[in-house]
């Protein structure tokens, strides 16, 4: 998605064809819709928080919200890259498990060890993504089947590394990735969005969006479809591994199975964030927004004293509402245009 500033400067050029504001709104409808959902859920959350706790949510609430969302935000950003190429990555949960388990057994309380282990874990995530990408792109296999199989493999490896929940994450590592004293993790949210902003304008970013829109046309225009597709999975692997690190840091320990739920949640997040499952439309920022919407819904249900057992019911309902609303708005927009 072009940033507001860039779209604004381009606006005069398209003025002749359509009113700039209408054009801008229509171009960014999915992200705007997910921002609206985030705003609504945030508003409801603050209202319910105020009604039940009799004060506004403060620094502590913001800090825990951001820290709880970071693992999913990273995984969803990765998932969005793959989905943009018309693929899907079900192995995200397995890669998070692996990264989480390795972090728990290797991290030592020294700067050198932490940097080395972090690099190694991100590289392992890249390798796991590379396997997915090669099988999908070179092996010409269905992404959903390949990643279902590799999910099983990566989960197995994670359990081999850390059979029982345990290990420990140094406090200083937690302080860097999931600081509990202040919402410092917002830096990573901004970083993710900035990275997407730059990536979107790089050759690879354009290639990924292009092959999602029309692989044949992209290929005829000289885009290396094979490379772009593989790289999407590699980047998704790296981001999932980063998600595993955030998860380990905020849990201050390792567990080789907590990542499992992230496969489905990352898909829910990108759909809430306006990424089209048919590829070519959407952004990693949408995935990050979607992750925050999920956290807000969970917070909302908690403070509304809804039985936690009903949580997945509401997640399912919100997911459907989001998808139906997005396609309804798209339909109306097309009819008017």
């Amino acid at each position: 998605m072009p940033s507001e500033a860039l779209a604004g400067s381009l606006a005069p050029a398209v003025k002749a064809r359509r009113r700039p504001l209408a054009h801008l709104l229509m171009q960014n409808a999915p992200v705007l819709l997910s921002l609206l959902m985030l705003a609504v859920s945030l508003f409801l959350y603050v209202a319910i928080f105020l009604a039940t706790q009799h004060h506004l949510p403060g620094g502590f609430e913001i800090t825990t919200t951001v820290n709880n969302t970071m693992p999913l935000a990273a995984a969803a950003a990765g998932q969005s890259l793959v989905v943009l190429t018309r693929g899907i990555d079900l192995s995200v949960g397995g890669i998070i498990d692996m990264s989480n388990a390795i972090a728990a057994v290797t991290l030592q309380d020294s700067a050198g060890s932490m940097i080395l282990a972090t690099m190694m874990i991100l590289l392992i995530g890249a390798a796991a993504g590379l396997v997915n990408g090669l099988l999908v792109a070179v092996g010409r296999l269905q992404p959903i089947l390949v990643t279902l199989a590799t999910l099983s493999i990566y989960q197995g490896i994670a359990i081999r590394i850390l059979p029982q929940p345990g290990g420990s994450i140094p406090q200083s590592y937690t302080a860097i990735l999931a600081n509990t004293n202040g919402p410092w993790s917002l830096v990573y949210v901004v970083l993710l969005c900035a990275l997407w902003w730059a990536f979107r304008r790089s050759g690879l970013g354009v290639a990924i969006l292009a092959i999602g829109n029309d692989p044949v046309a992209a290929s005829s225009n000289g885009i290396n479809v094979l490379r772009a597709r593989i790289m999407a999975y590699v980047l998704a692997g790296i981001l999932a591994a980063a998600g595993g690190l955030f998860l380990a840091a905020s849990a201050t320990g390792g567990d080789a199975t907590t990542g499992d739920s992230f496969t489905l949640r990352s898909i829910v997040a990108i759909v809430l964030g306006g990424v089209s499952l048919f590829g070519g439309r959407g952004s990693a920022i949408g995935g990050v927004i979607g992750a925050f919407i999920i956290t807000m819904i969970v917070n909302l249900l908690f403070f509304a004293h809804v039985n936690q057992l009903y949580e997945s019911f509401f997640e399912g309902v919100f997911l459907l509402i989001a998808v139906v609303a997005a396609s309804g708005i798209g339909y109306l927009a097309r009819r008017r245009a």
């Binding site: 899907i88 099988l135 296999l141 199989a149 099983s152 019911f313 509401f314 997640e315 399912g316 459907l320």
Partner: protein, 322 residues
């Protein structure tokens, strides 16, 4: 090529034979590792476990044949098992009503899936994923996380017998599966509905233009998938006696894997349920062989994934060549 020499020996039929061959080969390997593995009682045990996967795979075959997928299997199955025990309270008198109620619940959930996909245009992955969450939340919430008084009930003896009792030395469960195999194969191959299913899977747009009611077929197939999951839930609770949380989880991966091993084309339009049934047997045999080798859980998980990948690569090559 070979298709010219033996017109009957099509790609689809060849894959069904591969799946059957793989199951037999695995039994042979198991017998080498542990003599007696291919004995009658052991084969019977494998087939009974495979029948649960096979029932779910029947529904998965239906929706994959039109290029869809059903991710709501785990919790429709689990909800069915819990609904059966809580509505029957382990009494035979209540069993028929409980079975109807449970099958109705599964069919309804599947129908809603189909309606969302066919009428609202929601992608199948999202629709069935959301349905899985909705059914999970309702099941957990209404049963208080399986802590309700009736939740600890056993399945009615009638249903337990329907799974365990033997007729001519063969468990009743296997007759049921055989009936499902025959019925599904007949419906898909010899009825207008079956031909319509293949047509929609091959090209939904052309089918629509040819006057086929694509929406009605889609809704029916997803409803059937829900019905199959609920039936598997009933049989599984009859087999184990009691319901538990998470009992449906393994069946998503296994049903999709069975369908793929059985040579059903994941994008729709091609494949037979008999292949998926053979795929279910192959899969369960594989797990038994790995258990025989005393392979720990992580090793089974890894081997599982690797074997599926190898099978996919085998089939993928054929796809590229033709």
């Amino acid at each position: 090529m070979s298709g010219m020499v033996w017109p009957w020996f099509t790609v689809g039929r060849r894959r069904v034979l591969y799946a059957c061959g793989a199951a037999i080969l695995l039994f042979a390997i198991g017998n080498l590792l542990r003599p007696g593995f291919a004995g009658l009682s052991s084969i019977e045990a494998v087939l009974v476990v495979a029948s649960f996967v096979g029932l779910v795979a029947a529904g998965q075959t239906f929706v994959i044949l039109i290029g869809g997928i059903d991710l709501s299997v785990p919790w429709i199955l689990n909800a069915a098992a819990i609904l059966l025990v809580t509505s029957s309270l382990g009494e035979n008198v209540r069993a028929p009503y409980a079975v109807l109620l449970t099958l109705g619940m599964g069919t309804l959930a599947g129908m809603v899936n189909g309606l969302g996909i066919a009428l609202l245009g929601v992608p199948a992955v999202v629709m069935t994923l959301a349905m899985n969450g909705i059914v999970q939340g309702l099941t957990l919430g209404l049963s208080g996380g399986l802590t309700c008084g009736a939740c600890a009930s056993y399945a009615p003896p009638l249903i337990q017998q329907a799974v365990h009792d033997r007729l001519l030395g063969i468990p009743m469960e296997l007759y049921l599966w055989l009936a499902v195999i025959l019925l599904v194969s007949f419906v898909l191959s010899f009825t207008v509905f079956g031909r319509t299913t293949y047509a929609v899977g091959t090209n939904p747009r052309a089918s629509y233009l040819a006057g086929l009611n694509v929406s009605a077929v889609t809704v029916t197939l997803y409803a059937l998938s829900g019905l199959c999951s609920a039936l598997a839930g009933i049989m599984l609770v009859g087999f184990g006696g009691q319901a538990s949380l998470g009992m449906g989880d393994p069946y998503l991966f296994q049903s999709i894997a069975a369908v793929v091993i059985g040579g059903v084309y994941i994008l729709g339009g091609r494949g037979h349920y008999i292949g998926a049934a053979a795929g279910a047997v192959t899969l369960v045999t594989l797990v038994s062989v790995l258990l025989t080798m005393n392979m720990p859980e992580y090793g089974r998980s890894i081997t599982y994934g690797v074997i599926i990948l190898l099978l996919l690569l085998l089939y993928g090559r054929e796809e590229a060549g033709s």
